[in-house]
Amino acid sequence: MMIVLSMVTKSLFIRRLPGAEMNIVVRIGKADFDVGAECRALASHSSQSGAVVQFVGLMRDSNQGDDVLTMELEHYPGMTERRITEIVELAQQRWPLFATTVIHRVGVLYPQDQIVFVGVSAAHRHDAFQACEFIMDYLKTEAPFWKKERTLTGEQRWVDARQTDQQALKRWQV
């Protein structure tokens, strides 16, 4: 359960505009995405683009030994977009990237549905591979999303965070 409190008066929302000049796109919503179209968009930012690396996360039909029928994704509107933009900015400071796109779906999803997309373009593959994995590892552990799954037996349960995701993050923190 998430609790959001606003202290007495109206909430103060401090939102930075996504860095358009850094070619950062962050989209959170119910809509599916077209990997081919995203790839072309990423490549289009520079004639020096020599590498596009994309990761697509899909919903699996089983978890912890149980068949999973549906998965419902929730997020913290505002903070989620902001945190992902910050993660992308960290990646852009570390590797020379031309463009970065992060898409994450919310709402009810079914097995083999696309959940998440991380795509980067760079001059060379090494930077693109590294940056894509860095963004995905940070997103898994820091972007406020939560998954609730419904199993074949009708049980509804919140998915637990994984220790392996925390370990994956550590290799970037040197």
Binding site: M1, M2, I3, V4, L5, S6, M7, V8, T9, K10, S11, L12, F13, I14, G57, L73, E74, H75, Y76, G78, M79, R82, R83, H104, I115, V116, M136, L139, K140, T141, E142, A143, P144, F145, W146, K147, K148, W158, V159, D160, A161
Partner: protein, 68 residues
């Protein structure tokens, strides 16, 4: 997941003292704010127990994230 929102008159306190205040409201609140792995964000930035909360701040408590 229900997402209850509330207004609280507790300005100028720390996150820790807000947690104590909320825990006294009942079992559901106590479970959320006192859980070992509960995270706190103030104005949508991760906060710690020592951070201060002032009038107009937005405070959220939530469990470890499981996106991606």
């Amino acid at each position: 997941m229900s997402v209850p929102a509330a207004e609280v008159n507790k300005t100028g306190c720390t996150v820790a003292s807000l947690k104590e205040f909320l825990a006294e409201r009942g079992e559901v609140w106590r479970e959320v704010v006192n859980a070992e792995n509960t995270l706190c964000a103030v104005n949508q930035d991760i906060a710690t127990d020592d951070d201060r909360i002032v009038d107009g701040d937005e405070v959220a408590f939530y469990p470890p994230v499981t996106g991606g």
